[in-house]
Structures are given as structure tokens and as C-alpha cells.
Symmetry: C2
Subunit: 494 residues, 2 copies
């Protein structure tokens, strides 16, 4: 791999993204299974870290995991009119099993509102059974023609939360709460700032009354929808007869929500932090925090250096860090540096004979400060107290990645009031986060998309747009000139 350098972002962003994934050994196209992917160990380890953190947040907010069937009777999908319209074109269908044709085909779940609605109807009788707060971590399948690793594949992995409530206001609180869980996770763990907001009717989940979203800015100016939370109203309750007896003894349909985040978060992570040297990982999601590379020539040096390196590794591990001591023979230190850089390891420690003698190691951050001579800064660390120093560097590194991404977001955002400015912002391959007025109609939304490929990402939450005041305020639609009550967020998107 070392002979195939990573394509610079400025040369070909899409190729850069593929190169980062290939050289970081994160995933690859399955090829023999159309549109599907294999997630390789380094990529899956990142997803496992995401899962562990999100799962803790879901449990802290009272949710329990369960597992519902992969297969859904085809007729179930049709029970909610908008749902079937949205998902029917993407379904994979099982028609034969056990050597026979099935009486009714099954579809592989594209999402599980329908099958879960069926079981909620069995489990819920009384207001005492509510709220019912369920999540599952599963694979789902949506047959896609234009796929891209992690961002859009036939099979992907996700969690889907499904909850039932006695009142609409409780359900709406849940929708907002779980969107905030996604926002907190993105910011505090992925070091990725997001804008929360409400989707337009056109971009809403098929079968929802309202969809909320977190939208992240990628380095090429495009938006990536990173998590959604849906107010399903009583739509699936009606379709699957999910009723409860309220405190007055009256039977009512439950109010439901669903919310999901998927392996596309790995794609978001890559496009938020990585650079022309490859993958960059925030420490909180890095499968390996520290790579230690011993440097030696003679056998005597080797013994002394490896002894010291092993001590450092042991101390860092006792602090709960994941450490790779790269003691492979026959590979030069430079090749090792290169490999761990491409795998996004946040911190490298180099230990040579002079370091051992001086009681120091040389530390190199994956994204280092560049000095006045244009060289990446390395930092000498004392062996004495190295655990504390490394911990501090990793904390700083996590904070730096977030700040850098926040700066990029703040600089991207543009308020525009004319169609010329708007078109210019999306000329050619350009994209950024643009706040503009819109007349509220799907027709205009689609006309804008047709003209510029920019879509309405959301009606943003007040305060989620850094450096901007209120978005509410009368204006005129950028495209039609019709009145508009607030600015909405436009961008090209993944």
C-alpha cells in the first residue's frame, strides 16, 4: 500500500475519501454482493467505540435493547401508506426458503417501524405499559444503485430506537431528547459540530409527522445527515392497532417515535477530520490511542529500547489507553510512522537509544503544529510522569479537532439574499452552508435543487448557527420572492 500515496483532497476529493478508507484498512466494496460492503477490523473497531458510547447514552435515558426479526412480511410495509411509497423501491425480497416458494414473500428490513408496531400492539394494553422505550442494534438493507462506502450502501449497520407514549407531547419530548443525544455524541465524542433542525415535508421520513436531524459540514462544504429522530404521531399506531387504555379507561392509539444513527457516522468522521496523509481519529474513538515505535541499530540498543518501550506501554495501558508497541523486525521506523498515520492513531511515541539515556521519548501528534521552518513539531516528553503528559496531549488533541471543525463550520456559513449570490455559492462542485429564505413549498425546494443541486438540510434550531443571531424574521424567498418567515439551511449533501 505504501507505494500508492493518498490522492490530495484538492486534486480529487472523492478519490481522496476512497484512498483514506483503503489505506486505513477501514472497509471495502463487497463487489460480489451488489452495493454492499465489508467493514474491516480497523473500521469495525471505530464503529464498536461509537456503539459503546451511544448505547450508554441510550440506557441512561431509560431505553432497553431488544432484537426483532430481520424479515418482515411484505404486506406489513404496505400498511402505512407513506411508508410503502418511500421504501418499496429499495426492498430486497425473499421469495423462497427451505427449498420452497413462500406463500407470502418477506422483505429484508429497510427499517423496523412496521414489525415493531406489530409487537408493540401485543405488549401494550394499559397506560401502565407506557412509555415503552426500545432500541435495537442491527443490519438493515436498502437496495441502492449509487453507493459509496459507509455513506450509502445496500446493507448498513445502525441502531433504531422505537418508543411508544401516552401523549403526543411526551413523544415530542422524546424526539427532541434523542436528537440532543446525537448532537452531544457528535460534538463530545466525534469532535464534530452539528446543526440541529427540522426537515421539510419533502425530506421527512416516510410515515412521520416530523423529522428532526443533525447535519454536519464535511470538508468539501457538503452536508452529511448524521442522525434523525422522527415524530411518527399515531400513523403506525393506527396501521398496527397499537392501543392503550388511558387513565380514564378509554382506548387510544399510542404516540410513537423512532430515531436512528448508522455506520455512515464513520464516513462523517473521516470527512470531518482526515487529511492528505490519511485518517485522523479523535482519541475518544481511536481503537489505538498511542503507537510506540522503537528505534535502534545494534542488538544492545534493541534490548534497551524495547525494555523502555515496554515500560511506557505498560504505564499507558494502566491508565486505560490502548497502546500498540510496534516491535516488528525488518520494517523501518519511517514505514511504521507512515502506517500508523494512515490508520489515524492520535499520538506516536518514538524511543531511541538517546531517549533511553536521557529519560525521554519523542511525541508526535497525528496533526502536529508546523514550525517556522515548515516542519511538524515533535515534543520531548519525560519518562517520569509520561502517563499524565500523554493523557493531557490526547485531551488537547480531542479539543483541537473540535475547535478546528467548529471554525470550519463558522467560516462556511453564509447568509444570502439574492439568487445570484445563492447560485454562486453552489457553482460547479462548490458547496457550503447557506442560510436563505424559502417560500415553504416543495415545488420551490425541488426547483432550487434542480438548478443548483443544493437541498434544504433543515429549518435550523435557533442558536445552532455559530455567530448568527435569530434566523426567524420575515424575508423573501431566494427563488420566487414569495414571503418567508425564517431562513433555512441549504447545502449540497451526501
Amino acid at each position: 500500500m505504501a507505494d500508492h500515496p493518498i490522492t490530495p483532497r484538492a486534486t480529487d476529493y472523492a478519490q481522496w475519501y476512497q484512498d483514506v478508507i483503503a489505506q486505513g484498512e477501514l472497509a471495502e466494496a463487497a463487489e460480489v454482493v451488489k452495493g454492499c460492503m465489508v467493514v474491516r477490523p480497523h473500521g469495525w473497531a471505530i464503529w464498536e467505540k461509537m456503539q459503546a458510547d451511544l448505547d450508554r447514552r441510550f440506557k441512561e435515558t431509560g431505553h432497553q435493547n431488544a432484537a426483532f426479526p430481520l424479515l418482515i412480511p411484505q404486506s406489513f410495509i404496505a400498511k402505512e401508506a407513506q411508508h410503502v411509497e418511500g421504501f418499496a423501491p429499495e426492498l430486497a425480497v425473499v421469495t423462497h426458503a427451505g427449498g420452497k416458494q413462500l406463500e407470502e414473500p418477506y422483505v429484508i428490513r429497510p427499517t423496523s417501524e412496521t414489525i415493531i408496531g406489530h409487537f408493540f400492539a401485543k405488549w401494550i394494553q394499559s397506560h401502565r405499559d407506557l412509555p415503552l422505550l426500545i432500541n435495537q442494534w442491527v443490519n438493515v438493507m436498502r437496495w441502492e444503485l449509487r453507493t459509496r462506502l459507509f455513506l450509502r450502501t445496500g446493507e448498513f449497520w445502525w441502531q433504531e430506537g422505537h418508543t411508544a407514549h401516552a401523549t403526543h407531547s411526551e413523544a415530542r419530548e422524546e424526539v427532541a431528547r434523542m436528537l440532543d443525544v446525537y448532537r452531544d455524541f457528535a460534538r463530545d465524542v466525534m469532535a464534530m459540530p452539528v446543526v440541529r433542525g427540522i426537515k421539510t415535508a419533502n425530506e421527512r421520513f416516510a410515515g412521520a409527522l416530523e423529522t428532526r436531524t443533525i447535519e454536519a459540514l464535511m470538508q468539501d462544504g457538503k452536508a452529511l445527515q448524521s442522525g434523525t429522530s422522527h415524530d411518527l404521531g399515531q400513523n403506525f399506531g393506527r396501521a398496527f392497532d397499537v392501543m392503550f387504555q388511558n387513565t380514564d379507561g378509554v382506548r387510544e392509539y399510542v404516540w410513537q417515535t423512532s430515531w436512528g444513527a448508522s455506520t455512515r457516522l464513520v464516513g462523517a468522521l473521516i470527512m470531518t477530520h482526515s487529511d492528505d496523509e490519511g485518517l485522523v481519529l479523535p482519541p475518544r474513538l481511536a481503537p489505538i490511542h498511542v503507537a510506540i515505535v522503537p528505534i535502534y541499530k545494534s542488538d544492545d540498543e534493541r534490548v534497551a529500547v524495547l525494555e523502555c518501550a515496554a515500560k511506557v506501554a505498560a504505564e499507558l495501558r494502566s491508565d486505560g489507553l490502548s497502546v500498540k508497541l510496534d516491535d516488528r523486525d525488518g520494517i523501518k521506523p519511517g514505514a511504521k510512522y507512515y502506517e500508523w498515520e494512515r490508520k489515524g492513531v492520535p499520538l506516536r511515541l518514538e524511543i531511541g537509544p538517546r531517549d533511553v539515556a536521557a529519560g525521554t521519548v519523542m511525541a508526535k501528534r497525528r496533526v502536529a503544529r508546523i514550525d517556522e521552518r515548515g516542519k511538524a513539531v515533535k515534543e520531548p516528553l519525560k519518562l517520569d510522569g509520561i502517563g499524565l503528559a500523554v493523557g493531557q496531549i490526547l485531551d488537547d488533541f480531542q479539543a483541537m479537532l473540535l475547535e478546528r471543525a467548529q471554525d470550519r463550520l463558522a467560516k462556511s456559513i453564509l447568509e444570502v439574499d439574492t439568487w445570484d449570490e445563492f447560485s454562486a455559492a453552489f457553482a460547479g462542485n462548490e458547496s457550503r452552508f447557506v442560510l436563505a429564505h424559502w417560500d415553504g413549498t416543495t415545488a420551490t425546494e425541488l426547483a432550487i435543487k434542480e438548478a443548483t443541486r443544493a437541498t434544504i438540510r433543515c429549518l435550523p434550531y435557533e442558536g445552532d448557527i455559530p455567530g448568527k443571531g435569530s434566523l426567524v424574521g420575515a424575508g423573501q424567498c431566494i427563488k420566487t420572492g414569495a414571503p418567508s418567515p425564517q431562513r433555512v439551511l441549504f447545502a449540497k449533501n451526501y
Copy 2:
């Protein structure tokens, strides 16, 4: 649910098993998805604890997790002759996707040797790429007609380890190592003793040279295969052209293994420890370790008791225990006891006003000692130092469950030398672990099964049969009288 008592084991063992699952709210038949199940939150929480412990053991032995596609091109299954013969009758087939008929159908993975073989061929070039040690945690599907919750369902959840090695002896070491991981997990976490052994050709994994197994004894005397580890030889290497250049520069096929354990372990757990009052869980797999039930009449009592209960809960939680403080109003203590018993919570603490005054709580183990008057013993514990006392009780409880199961195993095992004794051991619904001589032929194995429904569970490891010496030694086949070099283990099985 409280109005439907659990059927006693002695009355109807199969119904007892279903009742324990239903009343413990572990799982239910999906019904609308033939042969499949929903794993409910309490059941899934047990599986998550199993996953966490096994996953740690896999990682400690050098394995990495990844994710391979759910769908496998149908032609892949046919590439290994024995594999397709074993799995073809159980496949679910996707023939349509994205609104079109597929050129080549896909099957939903029944196991992943074939698709993983395809990728191993891409990833492995040199001896430096070996060993390759991969695992995945996934759902798989085998279309089954006669299903039973957790034990045999169309869809189930499992892990499948897949490894490639440069030599057969390394692969065989891996097979034995992972079987021992399963044995250790069963014994030390599930409190379930098992017998390790080698499967006969007839019971071998389709495509393997050799299959090793751990077999557990259920309370009804039947065996439950609880984990298997396969020496695949070069069979899949040849079928998928998985080759490496050895240290002499010669290209060779790799030697592969695979090994798996599934959600049927939850069924094994139920049938090892549970009783006529419902689920019994070993503390190391209990989603809730301690249920605290406050007892009060007046409001004043309620305040004092709940304050004390909250303190106890906080102290136990600070020790890392999972505690349910059942402060629900309007439900009598007796009903709460009943509920947590059926859910298998290892320890219940009762706190009433007199306990608060005396600085004690009353502890009741899920399986308690019975006193001379036939009553289950409750133990008073001092509030001062309660964390230590509860920790000790839970350790004792874990050890007691293992000892009880080991006793049952030792008492079950019977060495027989005549067909009359053998038939008697398996008369009617009877089963136990029977050691007997067998002539080594599949014909005799099948004839014995036909006559008694007993199958050869394995050729046991020396030393895994408690209280017995060596199993090796000449004898005569129980059925044909032909010579036999060692006794093998028979039982009816799930």
C-alpha cells in the same frame, strides 16, 4: 402474567421451558415471521452480557471483529461440495431487489465460510499476512420447520470466528484453543459444566475435517451442544483459492478454522439453572443483581424505608452491581417478589420499618436453603458493610449454581455395556449422559438413533468426565458387538 403459574418441570418439561421464557419476558415466537423469534429486553440483556464476556476472551486471544455481508451469492454455497449438501435445504433466498429480479439470487447467510473465504483470498498473499484471526457478531438464518425459542429458530444471533493459518498444526491449535475458551466461559460465567469432545463424521460441520464441541447436560437429561470449533483443513482454501506464499516462496492453500456460539446459550442457561418458580440466573450474567423491595404501610414509614433503600442501592451500585429499587406504588411486596423471582434476579433485599430501626435488611437468595420447617431461609444483613456481604453472597450463589450443575452431571453419567441397559437409559422420554462402546460406523450410529433417539454427542476429551477414569480401552459396540477402541458419549439432544 401472575395468574398463569409456571408448569412444574415434572408435569411437562417442554411447557415449563416455554413458561419460564414467557414469564421471564425473555423472548417470544415472532409468528408472523415463520420460525423466527423476538428477543425481548430481559433476554437480550442476558445475551449482551454473554457477548461482552466472550468478546473480551476473543480479543485476548488475538482476534479482531469485522462485518461481512448478510447476503451471499447462491453460487458461493455450492463451491464446497459438503457445505452445499449440508446447508442447501435450509436457505432463505433473495430473488428480487430494487423492484427487479436479480440475475443471480443471493442467500441469507446460514454461516459465512464461503463469503469470508472470498475476502480472505483478497487479503492474504504472504505468510506475513498469517495468521488472520477474525470474528463477527451477526444474525444468521437457517430455515427450520421445528423451532423452539433460543434453541432452534429460523433467525438466530451468534458469533462466528474465522481464521487462516500457514500450517495445519497451527490451525488445529486454534481449534482446540477456542473450544477451551467456550468451555471456560460456560464453566466460569454460565456456571455450566460441559464435556469437550470430537464429533463423529455424521455430526460434523458441513465442510470440516473435524468438529469439536462442548456438550452440556440439561435438567431433563438431554444434551445441548453449546459451542463448536471446526478444523476446515484446506477445503475452503481450495474452494475460494485462498493461497499464500510460504517462507520458501512456494504458494500454498491456507489452513482454516471456524468456531461459533449462539443465542442458544440462553436456552442452555435456562435449562441448566431454572426451577419451578422460573428463571434462575448466575450473577455473572444477571442484568439485575439485586432487587430491593421496600415494605411500608404509613407515609412516615414509606419515607424512612425508601430513604434507607436508596442508600443501600447507592452503595451496591458503587460496587459495580446492577440494582433495581422497586419503589412502585400500588403493587404489594409479594407481587414484587414474584416478579423478580421469575426474572431470575439472584438476590432480593427486603427493607421494612423494623429493619430500618435495627440497621438491617433481610436478604433472600433466588435459590435459598430450605430450613427444617420447609421454609426458604432469609438472611439478616447489617446495613453497615452491606456491600461486602452482598458481594460475598453473590459469589457464593455463582459457586453454588456451578456445584449443583456439576453434581447433576456427575450423577447423570452412566457407563453401560449391554444393549438392554442402554435402551433402558433412553426409554420413553428418559435421557442421561451414557458412555458406551461404538463400532465407529455411521450405519451403527444411525441405527442406535433410530432405536433410541440417542445420538453420539462426542468422543469426549480424557478427563472431562467427572469421576471416571480413562475412556480409552478396547470394548465391544453396544449395538453390533464389533470391536471399539474407546467409549463415546450418548444422549438425546436439543
